[in-house]
């Protein structure tokens, strides 16, 4: 492998990692607040992809008929980001309200099994819906692809969009968690639920907001994935969802910077492992996870918490 190839593979890994990161954030936030591994999270991502697909099919470019193509594309893109966020967030809130909330004080295993049920329900329900259906759909190319050579490596405007959107949303999330009232409440609930309740924090509304943000991020990830890998289908969330979960665990589940770090490590490790040997590439990526967890069971940035007696 020469230098240009390595550079190209790093770009590939960053692009992949950005999508993982957006999904992993939702996993880690929900886990941080209610200690639930929300397996349906990958399906929120799928719904985000379909929502933006629907938006593109419904309005297309006709709405902005008078505008020049460039501006119409930008408006279209912003609308689709908001649309996919709204769809992802809405489905997350609905799932929380109907499936997770009634089980809040039940054993954690019940909620975990329910999460798997929600995941399967969304997958099969959507593949049974006639407007969506079980087959693959080609995602429209709303933004014209442009290539920018860097040395012998190439990056596309899609790379810039993926990484740009992911990084700006991550910065936004950090600001929310650090500097807003709801962020403060989230941190409090994550630290000690009962104490937070005693301090007058409305736990349920904090949980709802957490699901909203997590679902919205997954929705955007779905949009980006649809644009970058233009093939969507109701089961598209399973594999990225699983990998994002692994990334969240790698970084230390419950830890927001950890999820981002874990995702980029995961993306780059997967890319390089595949480049070294494509037959066992994915295996290598997961072997890294096992080794990291053997050495640091709490994940890279996770804090060691002693079990309460």
């Amino acid at each position: 492998m020469n230098l240009d190839t390595i550079l190209q593979q790093i770009f590939n890994g960053l692009q992949l990692g950005s999508i993982y990161a957006l999904i992993a954030l939702g996993y880690t936030m929900v886990y941080g607040i209610i200690r639930l591994i929300n397996f349906a999270h990958g399906d929120f991502y799928m719904i985000g992809a379909y929502a933006s697909y629907g938006l593109f099919s419904a309005i297309g470019a006709t709405l902005f008929f008078g505008l020049p193509a460039n501006q119409a594309t930008i408006i279209m893109f912003i609308i689709s980001i908001l649309g996919s966020m709204a769809a992802g967030g809405a489905i997350a809130i609905i799932a929380n309200q109907f499936a997770y909330k009634p089980l809040r004080n039940k054993p954690r295993l019940s909620a975990l099994i329910t999460a798997m049920g929600v995941s399967m329900f969304l997958e099969y329900f959507f593949s049974a819906l006639p407007v969506i259906g079980p087959s693959y759909r080609g995602f429209p190319e709303i933004i014209k692809k442009q290539l920018f050579p860097i040395g012998n490596a190439v990056i596309s405007n899609y790379f810039l969009i993926d990484v740009g959107v992911a990084v700006s949303l991550m910065i936004l999330l950090t600001l929310i968690v650090k500097y807003t009232k709801i962020g403060k409440a989230m941190r409090a609930v994550s630290l000690d639920k009962d104490a937070a309740k005693l301090m007058g924090i409305n736990i349920e509304s904090v949980i709802t907001v957490t699901f909203l943000i997590g679902g919205a991020f997954a929705g955007v990830a779905g949009l980006l994935a649809g644009l970058t890998y233009p093939r969507i289908y109701p089961y598209m969330g399973i594999l990225p969802g699983l990998k994002a979960f692994v990334a969240a665990v790698l970084g230390g589940i419950g830890n927001i910077p950890g999820a981002v770090l874990g995702s980029y490590i995961m993306g780059i490790a997967e890319t390089f492992a595949t480049a070294i040997n494509s037959l066992i590439g994915e295996g290598i990526a997961f072997a890294i996870l096992i080794i990291v967890l053997l050495v640091r069971p709490q994940g890279l940035l996770g804090e060691k918490i002693a079990d309460k007696v």
Partner: protein, 379 residues
């Protein structure tokens, strides 16, 4: 009340069985019965429809020319629903009740694999139009097929890349979890190397993945003249797109899994400068193909696909064998089938010792979002 209904039930079943056995005994000496099987309902319904139409067109032509052995041909077509159990049932019905002398069927390999042992046991020769799995004809010496088997496409793809595209360095990317694409990839590599080319990268991807950039970056960094992508259309479209994104502008080559309108929906313009091996092209200039396309369009008012063409060919192969055998004796028919040397829509067909056809493949080029006939490559 209960007893009477039970009695009625038993009696009606008895009548049904007796009736059916009379039906089975009925001898029609002025007709030759040929069976056909295909999935007319279920997930692959268009396959079965095409097979039926291809068979019926062939029989119509033979009957207009006086039938075979001086008798008219009667066609009995059954639906296997794309289900192996159903296939076994209809196979048994065709052989034991209808007493057909030969069967053309069916589309899917899994269903043909269910029917083939029944044909073999009862010594009723069968020709499957489109089951590409090598195992189908391995069932026994009464089982033949009209399509080429999976490995052959890889070989043809390599030959086309080396000789027609003048490629000397090739990259290969395939789905490690799918025998079809893996088989094609391996045979491509072997043939391409044998011809004197170099396979610069032979990369696998897991099933269901959407990101192929790691593999493609590795392939492209070795500067191949051509990339071989023996995946189905939806993966092939994504791979093509990502290959173009990484700056590869050379030709892409694939197999018959590319044959779908969705290839363009997913691949868009990236799939341009792509070529794939297929069984049949409606644009093939050979007169026999053009005549078939014309007749088919007149009768069914649509363009024939590869399934219709191969079913038409299968029927011709079977009837031609009966004609040369001079009787419907299974032994003689089998012998005549082995000696097949017939020019049909998908090319000049002979059988190798495993009863697989030795025949050319068609190369289809992708130009301006359309499939265009490019060349015919002989084995």
């Amino acid at each position: 009340m209960k007893r009477t209904s039970k009695l009625i039930y038993i009696v009606s079943i008895a009548i049904l069985i007796i009736g059916l056995s009379f039906f089975g005994c009925k001898k029609q000496s002025n007709e030759i019965l040929i069976g056909g099987v295909g999935p007319v309902t279920g997930e692959a319904a268009t396959f079965g429809q095409s097979i039926r139409e291809g068979c019926e067109l062939a029989i119509l032509e033979w009957n207009q020319n006086g039938g075979v052995l001086g008798k008219q041909i009667k066609f009995i077509y059954q639906d296997d629903k794309g289900d192996p159990t159903e296939a076994a049932t209809v196979w048994t019905k065709l052989i034991t009740q209808d007493k057909v002398v030969g069967i053309v069927g069916t589309a899917m390999s899994k269903c043909s694999l269910a029917g083939a042992p029944i044909s073999q046991q009862n010594k009723v020769p069968m020709v499957t139009p489109t089951s590409t799995n090598p195992k189908v004809t391995e069932v026994g010496d009464y089982i033949f097929r009209a399509c080429f088997i999976d490995p052959f496409q890889g070989t043809v793809g390599a030959k086309f890349a080396y000789e027609n595209l003048n490629a000397r360095k090739a990259g290969v990317i395939f789905d490690v979890g799918n025998d079809y694409t893996k088989g094609l990839a391996e045979f491509f590599r072997d043939k391409f190397t044998e011809l004197g080319g170099t396979v610069v990268a032979f990369e696998a991807h897991p099933t269901g993945t959407t990101d192929f950039k790691a593999q493609l970056t590795k392939i492209i960094s070795n500067k191949p003249d051509v990339i071989y992508i023996p995946d189905y259309y939806n993966d092939a479209g994504l791979i093509a797109k990502q290959a173009r994104e990484l700056g590869f502008n050379g030709p892409l080559v694939g197999g018959d899994g590319w044959d779908s309108p969705d290839l363009f929906k997913i691949g868009g313009t990236a799939i341009e400068n792509g070529f794939f091996t297929n069984h049949f092209s409606k644009d093939d200039p050979r007169p026999i193909v053009q005549e078939f396309v014309k007749k088919y369009q007149e009768k069914y008012n649509k363009v024939p696909d590869a399934f219709a063409a191969l079913a038409y060919d299968s029927m011709y192969i079977l009837l031609d064998a009966i004609k040369r055998a001079g009787s419907t004796d299974p032994e003689k028919m089998k012998q005549a089938l082995m000696e097949t040397n017939i020019n049909v829509v998908s090319g000049l067909i002979t059988f190798d010792k495993n009863r697989n056809p030795v025949k050319p493949a068609v190369i289809i080029a992708v130009k301006n979002g359309q499939q265009v006939y490019q060349a015919t490559v002989n084995p």
